[in-house]
Subunit: 427 residues, 4 copies
């Protein structure tokens, strides 16, 4: 199923009078505060978030999985799904593949297919946290950190293969998330595990194409429950520093201990020129992988506040980060979940763009926390939905993507096409 | 210093054109959705939040205190400060006293003073977590739970004295927060401590005036760091149930373990008819006692969503709860902090009133979490500031209380009147 | 494979001289402190821990599963595995079944089989957190709490079926763990969900055999990540109180928010006569389901300290609790993990038995936290391994069960019998 | 009051028969496992823990303070108190001063006084978290990170003064703990604050004597509750790396978010040659500053396991770390608390020395978590109290320091000498 521009236009036309009113009101208010609305709209439109191929099917927990229907059965269908999202919100213009779940059989065809949806291939992701049927060595006790050199070699080779697939499709970066860790005190030698990981990453880094970047993810726990080799940003940053200029830290919002100040980590990494990528999701307890903005929208805004500040005043030349959603849609329709996530990101970004940075810096220099809070909250409390809707409509997408998804019966169509019991590869 | 209505009117007049525009926009939008704006305004106006007498001076931490100036030196001046707040925001129409810090010497005079500011006396608070100079027995190892019957009697007697002072002023409820607990495994017998607390509370309850209510606060830790006698809502509810119909649980937002679902606790307590009172503040790590809404405004909204639902559909006849701010203003001007807190509460309440409850219940019955989230976020993302401002202005208060506070140089005036080194009693 | 008494005796004989020395030393020391060693030994022997049928195969996480070999393929083989454990440690004399994974086809045969291993059938467990192939209605959005009455009826009927199977085998209690909850704010009506759960439990309770007990488990999160219907002991206790005298709370060590004082919950529940059962495991982050005692052995001791105190001074007539291990063995051999778990439980119990309760109560009454800590640590720091080993040997089991397991090549034998790729039902 | 060797000998003599028996038993058992007992004893004796001058009086919380009696009123008396501890346990051979609370008036006299107790001066500590009466600029909004260059200069100058005092007394290191941070989102510019802190530390580092080391402490929160400039080991390590070879990270056990794997941080820092110092205490919720080993003795052991491993296999040439207790004794007698803390440290150290490292490494290389756990627990479950007691007795101290403290009525004597209402400076 593809969504036709006409379908979207018809829906937009119906909603237009109400939208026009709202947009004019906010434009008027912002203009009165000397905020250039057109430039805001442009920035919102430029912000593109990659969709990972594994987020298009129903996720599960260790207690079970309750599949929906119409899940994509092939890489082509996964691209189609991202295409649907992008047609609806004009903000999901990239797909992030996961190897071995998404090995393209015919590269040219896959590239053409993605291009037909106006999609790019963002960072590729390796998988050394599961054993594949044909695999020689098991990752049960680690991969790049494993005590057995053969397992490490196998994991390095896998990463090289992932890069090869990515290169063919036009990707420019590799994201390494390692489950590697231990569940029992004593099980692993912390120092050896870290050293081996560094050594393995060095091999991959050395053989990575020269225009590629490596993103190193960190996570404090799960699937192992005592220690993870890359437990926090400090460890990831240590590795990235020792690897070289094209190695960076990747922040996943759900990969932190309770109460961590994530926005500070973002600021520190950008200050060091080492923030490479970002995985969006939301959580209450741990790596809950919930819809972005569903739980802590103010925290999301505070993080965007640092991202915008860091990009606007980029003295340390941090590269433009790779944005991706990384969530697990157990209860919601995956596509609806992603539409809500992209919307939440766009709203937070728009709000962060509204922050009066000059006034904020003055309040900070004056040690006026009351005023500093007012300035942030003024931006956060602004209803920016009409701005984001306008940005979408102008780009040819839907004023209200979720409503469009339902009105156009997208899921029903997909079920019809793919069946009730289709299952996304890798899940 | 008192704020003159004319001063406020003059300020409001200046801000009026901009406000009028905003208010008309939101009124128009809400009316189009069949939401009666006048009734909203009325509800916001009726929502009155008590200010505790101890929140009017600069707070401290165990590492030190950095006092500001112009702090109230007497109970009269504390009442004046709450009067200033109420003049500015028309939402702080009550004061909550703390004994022995606020013992009124001349009751009639104090009552008249409060009445002149249009203030009521809300719940009175006892203090058995500190030793007073003249005190016979020490609370170092507990009060109502103490192993020594004489300490328990002293603490019971103190609570009776608090009630007497409250009765004289027109209060109708007693809030009991117990620091009682232990810092080391083994130190206290959990069961004996709970039994003694119940027995002591029974004595107080039995002697409380018949039209009084008792609010029992819970807290998982601090100032003791292993166990507290009333560690959670479950324990408080157990005590309240065993005491009788006029005993209730009091929820303080900062008194929970990391990641607790507080809104669910609120819902459960209202369902049992046992939610007596509420202490507002915000926190990131523990009982941080920060400005309401400064950290997790969405959580605050979700809590209000339950409060509004519980009050609208009150099958279990939960009494109307007592609302109070309980924060510690270490870095901000206490009055500015309280103005921000009240505003955050009013905004969250207004947003919760906007929730389309019927649609929400339908989405829930249909197990449509996507739609349920949309409905909540639609309310939360609405910019309700003009509604709250209108409610204030209509009630004779300031469109922008914080701006008014600064423009009118309230703190500077207070410093002039009371001195740079004044100190609020009890701090 | 069955372990022969002679095999165990041979192994014990080798280890005997060293053990004898250790045991005599500790006996001598304890006797000098007027502690009756024989009675200690007897108590340790009487303490029997049920093994759940699902703990005998390799567990998984949502990221994957790395199966070992020789897993039990049938209920008979599961019983055999528990029989092996019990032969080795004389402390695992019961099995706890999970329906529908363990439906006995021939009850008489299964009973005889268990009896041949000297095993009893402990609490039976229902499963409404997964959909079974033949199931009419889905539990995706809840079971006993579901908005659809038909789903609730199905879940009630399932629980009745579980009871029937349990009755046939001689079980006397039903453990209800509900995954029921929601992952998104707004998704569920907290009050309705709790009311429906209560109503559903009432139906089950009403139809439960008269000599049966119901254990209600609580858990703050997972598999849902915003709210669970029975989030904490307070909610479970509320339900158990409203259900009746034969409904109790069940404590699972991993089902708590960070830093919860679990031993206090144990004490409070026993004080109310409402502690029904206990699920042992250990954790660092959440419901990690690790080997008992692997992470926080002192906390385990403190919990046993309350259990022993509550059983010795049982004024509120709490029934003798049902003990079970509930862990997930992802990395370790499941049987080895269980041997370590049972050992850790026996050691903590033995240490708790050594606490000088009279001296402890005196220190508490005197508010002497230094001495109270000394008394607890004196017990905890005592090396009680020889006591526990003696208790085992006397009961015909192994001095060192884990060493015996390895020396006797139990796993290798099981792999030979059952194959490398056998898989436990339900995993 | 000074404790006489004869007093200790008399007490030891009484306890000797029982001790001798226990020591011989453990010696026999260890010797059978080829563990050289004499070398163990020697290592335990060499392990000296500094006592901070502020730990000798009763601590407080923001809710109040319940002072005991006989607190040291002068620096001399503080040294006397540490002398008492050292006489009793032969393990507290150093004092760590805090400026401005402990400015020595007569350096020669103070040095002689310390020498008479056999005490060294360990790291000196600066204080920029409080305002002193005579201070020009306030630290309310930070010190080394402050937006005002004059405040930063003042704080730098203070640190230089601290170094001068330390130099005079023979200290060789400066510990910098900064409260610097913010309590409200927006209040501080994260990057500027970190940059300013780095710049300020650079000034201090540049002017530090050439044989001095700088220890940089980190802490996630308190006294500020949104962000701290040095929130975690990663930030401290970043600063230490940028400063130079003589800058190190200092780990305080209480300064971590819930569930942090501290032992891994220790291992990583030692691997980088950057672990400078250690502050011991224990906690359940946050920086609770409780008696070492009172809450999580196994975690303490696991940390010592890394410390011992790192010191034994010191390929990265980590300097020998500075050990200090940093606790706050609100409920216990401060000296008794310190005796319990030192004992807990000595026990954990002794247990860590018992770990069979070769076997452990083999188990790790074989990915045998069951065996690795057994090896650690075998060490931890060993009752090493007789070893530690022997080490003390041999060094001329008490077999049971706490019993000696009570039998000799030390506190009563101190109260007699110093009065019931004496108060330690700085509290």
């Amino acid at each position: 199923m593809r969504i036709d521009k006409n379908q979207i236009n018809t829906l937009n036309d119906k909603a237009l009078p109400d939208h026009r009113e709202s947009f004019e009101y906010i434009s008027h208010k912002l203009t009165a505060r000397d905020i250039p609305v057109a430039s805001l709209i442009e920035k919102i439109q430029s912000f593109q978030i990659a969709i990972p191929s594994w987020a298009l099917g129903t996720g599960g927990t260790r207690f079970g999985r309750f599949p929906g229907g119409g899940e994509p059965r092939t890489l082509e269908e996964k691209i189609d799904d991202v295409g649907l999202l992008h047609a609806l919100n004009a903000g999901s213009g990239a797909i992030s593949l996961h190897i071995p779940w998404d090995i393209p059989e015919n590269v040219a065809q896959i590239k053409a297919h993605a291009a037909s949806h106006n999609l790019l291939f963002d960072a590729v992701n390796s998988n050394t946290f599961q054993d594949q049927p044909e695999q020689q060595k098991s990752y049960k006790f680690g991969s790049l950190c494993h005590s057995d050199a053969d397992v490490r070699s196998q994991a390095v080779a896998h990463n090289m293969e992932v890069i090869r697939h990515g290169e063919a499709l036009g990707s420019k970066s590799l994201t390494v998330w390692l489950a590697d860790g231990s569940s029992f005190p004593g099980q692993m030698n912390f120092r050896k595990a870290l050293q081996r990981t560094l050594d393995s990453l060095r091999e991959i880094y050395a053989r990575m194409p020269e225009d590629w970047k490596m993103f190193i993810e960190y996570k404090p726990y799960e699937p192992y429950f005592y220690h993870t080799v890359i437990q926090d940003w400090g460890t990831s940053h240590l590795l990235a520093s020792q690897l070289g200029e094209r190695a960076f830290t990747l922040v996943d919002l759900g990969h932190h201990l309770p109460n961590t100040n994530i926005e500070q980590i973002v600021a520190t990494l950008m200050m060091q020129g080492k923030l490479g990528g970002f995985h969006f999701n939301d959580s209450k307890f741990g790596d809950d992988d919930l819809t972005v903005g569903a739980m802590k929208p103010y925290q999301l805004f505070l993080i965007f506040n640092e991202l915008v500040a860091g990009m606007e005043d980029n003295t340390s030349k941090n590269p433009y980060p790779a944005w991706m959603i990384d969530a697990s849609h157990n209860l919601k329709d995956p596509l609806e979940d992603l539409l809500q996530s992209v919307e939440a990101i766009q709203l937070a970004y728009a709000q962060a763009l509204l922050v009066d940075r000059k006034a904020l810096e003055n309040a900070r220099e004056d040690n006026d926390p009351v005023l500093a809070q007012e300035i942030l909250q003024r931006a956060f409390r602004t209803d920016v939905r009409p701005l984001v809707a306008e940005a979408r409509m102008e780009a040819g997408a839907a004023l209200d993507p979720l409503a469009a998804f339902r009105t156009l019966s997208v899921r029903e169509n997909l079920v019809r096409e793919r069946g009730k019991k289709s299952m996304a590869t890798g899940l």
